[in-house]
Amino acid sequence: MTPRIVLGFCLLLSICVVALLLRLMVGRIPLESGAWQVVLSWPEDPIRPLRLGAAGSALAAGWCLGLAGLLLQVLLRNPLASPWVLGLSSGAGLGVMIALAAAVMVGVDAPTGGGLVVPAGCGALGALAITWWLGREGGVLEPLRLLLVGVIVASLAGALSMALQDIVPHGLRADFIDWMMGRIPEAPSGGLLLTCFVLAAVVTVVATLLADWIDLSCLGSDEARSSGLNLASLRTGLFLAAGALTAAAVALVGPIGFVGLLSPHLARLLVGPTHRVLVPATCLAGMAMLLGAEAVRQFIDLGGGRLHVGVLTALLGGPFFLWLLCTNRGTLR
């Protein structure tokens, strides 16, 4: 390991630890005036489990999204690839809209919050299956075809969601928009949280073990094949792993953008392009980004409650991405 890599890991780890401590310590108390005052203190029961739940959810989702982003950038050989290019976010959104509309039609209370986990997961997996089915050419996943199919699936799912919005009341539309902005649950489903962690851990280990093959696949199809790499199997593995990670993350926290796009670039900037170190570094970067955003948003309340985490990741991630682009840091080629 070169000093640069060691330094990069230390930096990412430090950001994670600071973000974790900040998320666990920052809270707010209501004042007589109706305003809230932000306070830093170590939480006691019954607040502690809520903050641990939020921190755990952010860590798990950040891990999943960062890793999924990296795998997709490798698979599509496109630095703009992120978990949303395969239409998973829109598919999850469609799943949620179908659940809301169905509840309205049969006259039962519409699901909210945790009740949206299953429809979101089903929608994401449904979009994944369609993209997978149509993204193959001669039985092999083709990056360009996959990208195009993903874009079309996303557009179709988005359009269907919009159509369904017309048959639900305004209040439920607001709930849907709220869900689309992402939310880190304070009391997540234990099973879902565990699924995210286990899935992310398994994919991280496997991807690190296969890092040399992944490096080879980045050279191009002909070079990879001439080196004896089974490109079809690798692409299938990358696609399924990225899809499952994204579906799990969306089910847990909703569609949160920019984490999957930026984490691999941040990690590349710090530890370089070799996947043996890039895979774990990206996981740390994803965790640091989402946990950091979740901590920072505790300080920002524009009147309607704390800023949504998905809004903050976009507000911070967009300029950061432009900075990478404009300063030509070598990660966007």
Binding site: S33, M105, D109, T112, H170, G171
Partner: protein, 310 residues
């Protein structure tokens, strides 16, 4: 679910458990025929012109309910998709955000009732109303007093369009008298301490100051635990730090039960009450029904007019 659009509106639009098939049929019907709403043709239900009855289009579920409660359901010639059940046969002519100008033109109202959104009344609607010589009345409904003021104005406005102003005046006065009765301070609510009223539990979202529910709570002698304006979204941690004495959840009992599981049972835990009062989610004439349910939930002593619902 945010306030102003209770679930019963939607279920009323999709009667029965026919589910997806019915919805798809409705979608297809709407797509292929530019006219009709709630499965009906406007030609079939719109009262004939010059029949002495005002032709009212209401682009607000709350105002539609008010017209129905004032005995003017037959005067409605257009409403929103999520109108009360009694307006099921009234053509849909768009909603608050997207009024369908062509359909409104087709039903040719005398009077347009609008509850403006944050961006105000659609300028195209205003222009059309001016060109067609329709009376466009826009009312904001944020506070309890807004509801009362609107009702006070209704008889004279509708009287201009041929409605029986005297009868409406009597109906409004009766409603106002009932509202005074049901809003009598209740000692049980006063002693319930700081009360947090939630319209959502996952995520929690509550009625803050400057809302009609806050007004109702104050009139009943209660203290709103959420001393910030509007309808803010909260976190579970916020609920704990606000430490209300009572949490009132509007809607299904399951929602209250879900919230109850978040609190460790201890003497300091707030009491979580669920009020099955969708009427409280719409700032309109049905608020009285909601307040009655609220009083009953707290076990307030009956008020003569309030409890018999006359």
């Amino acid at each position: 679910m945010r306030p102003t659009t209770p679930p019963d509106r939607a279920s009323a639009w999709f009667p029965g458990p026919t589910g997806l098939r019915s919805a798809l049929l409705v979608l297809v019907a709407v797509a292929v025929s530019a006219g009709g709403g709630c499965g009906q043709s406007e030609q079939a239900v719109a009262p004939a012109p010059d029949s002495g009855v005002p032709r009212i289009v209401s682009l607000s579920p709350a105002l539609t309910q008010a017209m129905i409660d004032l005995g003017l359901a037959h005067a409605l010639v257009g409403c929103t998709p999520f109108a009360p059940e009694a307006a099921n046969s009234v053509p849909v002519v768009g909603d608050l955000l997207n009024p369908d100008l062509e359909r409104i033109l087709a039903v040719d109202p005398d009077l347009l009732l609008v509850q403006p959104t944050a961006r105000g009344v659609d300028p195209a609607l205003r222009t059309l109303a001016r060109e067609q010589d329709w009376d466009l009345v826009d009312w904001r409904i944020d506070r309890l007093e807004d509801v009362r003021n609107i009702l006070r104005e209704v008889p004279s406005i509708l009287g201009r369009h041929g409605a029986d102003e005297q009868r409406l005046q009597s109906a409004v006065e009766e409603w106002l008298a009932q509202s005074e009765a049901v809003l009598t301070p209740c000692p049980v609510i006063r002693s319930a301490g700081r009360i947090l009223v939630l319209y959502g539990v996952d995520p929690p979202a509550g009625f803050g100051t400057g809302t009609y529910v806050d007004d109702i709570l104050v009139r009943l002698g209660g203290r709103n635990a959420l001393q910030r304006p509007g309808y803010p979204e909260l976190s579970l941690e916020d609920l704990l730090t606000l430490s209300p004495d009572t949490i009132l959840v509007l809607g299904d009992p399951d929602r209250g039960a879900l919230l109850q599981t978040r609190f460790e049972p201890s003497p300091a835990s707030p009491e979580v009450l669920t009020v099955e009062a969708d009427a409280l989610l719409i700032p309109g004439t049905r608020l009285l029904e909601g307040v009655r349910t609220l009083r009953a939930t707290f076990g307030c002593p009956p008020t003569d007019i309030a409890e018999n619902g006359s």
